[in-house]
């Protein structure tokens, strides 16, 4: 899951990025409204974390412009403004959730999970394909009730596959949702990681879940 953090306070942006990456999210950061808007418009994010008091372009304006482009990416507004009017203004401008600073990091993570879940119309914080399960909260992955240890990138890759079963996922799509802005999608890193993942979840089990579509990409099949 790829997340864009637009926050002008560098230290805040840094610890958010660090904390989210440790939760297997791919994170891009922008330090002002202009940069944030550019990134939001040129990449596909699963979620945007937005501060309201931003230099160059105000947070609410960034939000309005994102929504103006029919971009329905969930937006979590993060701000020190905590009056009722501020919250109403933010929600009316099109944000999906609101968290005031200073915040508890676990709450921040829970809200992000909730927003992503809402996006996928899932109610369970548990993804399941055949006998493979992935817990979004504990990050535990099991197949046939055996626990599988994954690295951070492998986990992120598997989560993306499991959120989009029976869909063709091109290398570009995978790079956009699993890796951050600095990743060069022309390398064969994706193939390498898909192979790592296959070894862990498919090699010792039947049926095989990850399928290669030659020249196109990959697909995870339900059965």
């Amino acid at each position: 899951m790829r997340i864009l953090v637009i926050e002008d306070e560098k230290k805040v942006a840094t610890f958010i990025k660090k904390g989210l990456e440790e939760e297997h999210y791919a994170v891009d950061t922008a330090y002002d409204g202009e940069e944030g808007l550019y990134l939001a418009e040129s990449n596909e994010y699963d979620l945007i974390v937005l501060d309201l008091m931003l230099p160059k372009i105000e947070g609410l304006e960034v939000l309005k412009r994102i929504r103006g482009k029919k971009n329905a990416t969930p937006v979590l507004v993060l701000t020190a403004k905590n009056t009722v009017e501020d919250i109403v203004k933010g929600l009316d401008a099109g944000c999906d959730d609101y968290l005031t600073k200073p915040f508890a990091f676990v709450e921040f993570l829970a809200r992000i999970r909730a927003l992503l879940r809402r996006e996928n119309k899932e109610k369970e914080p548990l993804l399941q394909i055949a006998d493979l399960t992935l817990s979004l909260v504990t990050h535990k992955v099991t197949r046939q009730e055996k626990e599988i240890e994954l690295t951070s990138k492998e986990y992120a890759l598997l989560e993306y596959f499991m959120r989009n079963p029976d869909k063709v996922l091109t290398r570009t799509m995978i790079s956009e949702h699993v890796w951050d802005y600095h990743f060069d999608s022309m390398t064969n890193v994706i193939d390498v990681y898909v192979n790592y993942l296959r070894k862990k979840i498919d090699k010792d089990f039947e049926p095989k879940l990850i399928h290669t579509l030659r020249g196109i990409g990959y697909m995870m099949k339900r059965a």
Binding site: E9, K10, V12, P55, A80, K81, K101, P102, F103
Partner: protein, 480 residues
């Protein structure tokens, strides 16, 4: 409640005063009138009696005992209608009588007879003469040291008493009704006059810190009440303004403190999610310390400013050698300038400059301005501080001898025109991110402004974007 209301008290006082006035006036009228009427009756009786006495002292034959109107009318042209007349001899036997006393006689008491024999006139009121009260005068006629006759003249008091009785009844009815009307009128007037006071009370009741935009409706005219309303409205305006300021200030202050708090909490929480290398912990602690220092600065500056708001920061005035403290401050911040390879120079052509002020605060002022200059000037730029005297050539009484100017110029990023007037406001930041990176509390220039103004001086800025800024502090020159 109603008995304590001003309206009630006003009405009561009004009615009370009117009652005292009306009752005294009525009593005065009644008694004066009755007095006058009785005296007039007495006077008439006395003069008639005198006349009869003098007439009857002429040859006795003219006044035989019996009908006496005829001769009286003939000799004096007098027709004593309604008067009763009788003449007695000295022993009290009745002689002549007027016609209207045909079968009766005027009463005469022993006392009156004794008085008469002693030569004294007696006036008396008798109620024993039928139904009518009579006023009787008894006049002894003295001839040659001896009382020859006694003349009695009487008149009915019925008319007088009727008139007085009527007057009494009229007063008894009109005075209380006048008072009732007056109390109604008084209440109406008091209501009318106090209506605006009620309005003020109601508005004042409605006003809380949430709706200080309410005002009392102004009345036409310029009476005491309109002045009260105006004063009241002005007071609400002032309250409103200061509430707004406090609101803005506390929201700014909490916002300023929230950023370091967010960083502290976030960094620590993320760090604690798993075990980390020692270097990482160290880095986090160092970053935390930075935020804690920032918070301390903000809190200290805030405390100072809130104290200045209450005029609770005393200035320890004394002669301050600006040249010296400038030298000290430049020494202090030299290391900052060196780190950015900024050329920091001082220009002082006017020799030793001394002002009357607080040494510590003036140091703080210089430090703030020079530090700001270094912060907002890119590497290899320059910051210059000059001290200048400006002597007032022509000085009016009470004016300063002149000004000392402290001019801090940099070749930094400059300040946009629209921001220039706001930079002295609390927490106003042209570039929030940059200011925080430089470790500012957002209050430095507010404090500098306060210091300049507390010394009866002022502070101003001239600036052009990308060229640099010049801060000018003017302090009154000390007279020694």
């Amino acid at each position: 409640m109603i008995f304590q209301s001003l309206r009630f008290k006003l009405t009561v006082w009004y009615v009370l005063i009117l009652a005292v006035l009306l009752v005294s006036f009525s009593s005065f009228l009644y008694f004066t009138l009755s007095n006058m009427l009785y005296r007039s009756v007495d006077n008439k009786l006395r003069s008639l009696a005198g006349l009869i006495a003098s007439e009857s002292s002429s040859p006795l034959s003219t006044f035989g005992f019996g009908d006496m109107e005829q001769p009286l009318g003939a000799s004096t042209n007098l027709k004593p209608i309604g008067k009763f007349i009788q003449v007695l001899d000295e022993s009290g036997r009745i002689g002549q009588k007027s016609d209207n006393l045909k079968n009766v006689q005027l009463p005469i008491s022993l006392n009156t007879l004794r008085n008469a024999s002693n030569g004294l006139i007696t006036f008396e009121t008798s109620r024993s003469f039928g139904n009518t009260p009579l006023r009787i005068v008894t006049l002894p006629v003295i001839e040659g040291n001896q009382i020859s006759r006694i003349v009695q003249v009487a008149s009915s008091l019925e008319d007088v008493e009727d008139a007085l009785h009527n007057l009494f009844v009229i007063l008894l009815i009109t005075v209380p009704s006048a008072l009732v009307l007056a109390s109604l009128g008084g209440q109406f007037l008091a209501n009318k006059a106090l209506k605006p006071v009620d309005d003020i009370t109601q508005t004042a009741h409605r006003i809380t810190s949430q709706n200080l935009n309410q005002r009392i409706k102004l009345l036409k005219g310029r009476d005491e009440i309109s002045r009260l309303i105006e004063t009241f409205n002005e007071m609400i305006s002032r309250l409103d303004k200061s509430f707004q300021q406090i609101k803005q200030f506390s929201s700014d202050a909490s916002h300023e403190l929230k950023t370091p708090l967010t960083i502290l909490r976030g960094e620590v929480e993320v760090a604690l999610r798993k075990e980390r290398a020692v270097q990482e912990y160290e880095q986090i602690l160092r970053s935390n310390l930075e935020e804690i220092n920032r918070m301390s600065t903000i809190v200290e500056d805030l405390l100072l400013l809130s104290k200045t708001d209450m005029d609770a920061v005393p200035l320890h005035r004394g002669p301050v050698h600006l040249t010296e403290i400038l030298h000290d401050v430049v020494g202090q911040v030299g290391i900052l300038a060196q780190a950015k390879q900024i050329h920091l120079q001082t220009v002082n052509s006017d020799g030793d400059i001394t002002v009357l002020g607080d040494d510590l605060r003036l140091r703080q002022l210089l430090l703030n301005l020079i530090e700001n200059g270094i912060k907002y000037t890119p590497e290899k730029g320059s910051v210059s501080v000059s001290l200048r005297k400006e002597v007032n050539a022509v000085r009016a009484a009470g004016e300063h001898a002149g000004f000392v100017k402290i001019i801090v110029s940099d070749t930094g990023i400059g300040i946009d025109k629209k921001d220039q007037e706001k930079i002295f406001d609390r927490f106003y930041r042209v570039d929030k991110a940059r200011s925080r990176e430089q470790g500012g509390s957002g209050l430095g220039l507010s404090i500098s402004k306060w210091i300049a103004e507390a010394h009866q001086g002022d502070i101003s800025v001239e600036s052009e974007l990308e060229k640099g800024s010049t801060f000018i502090v003017k302090l009154p020159m000390a007279v020694f």
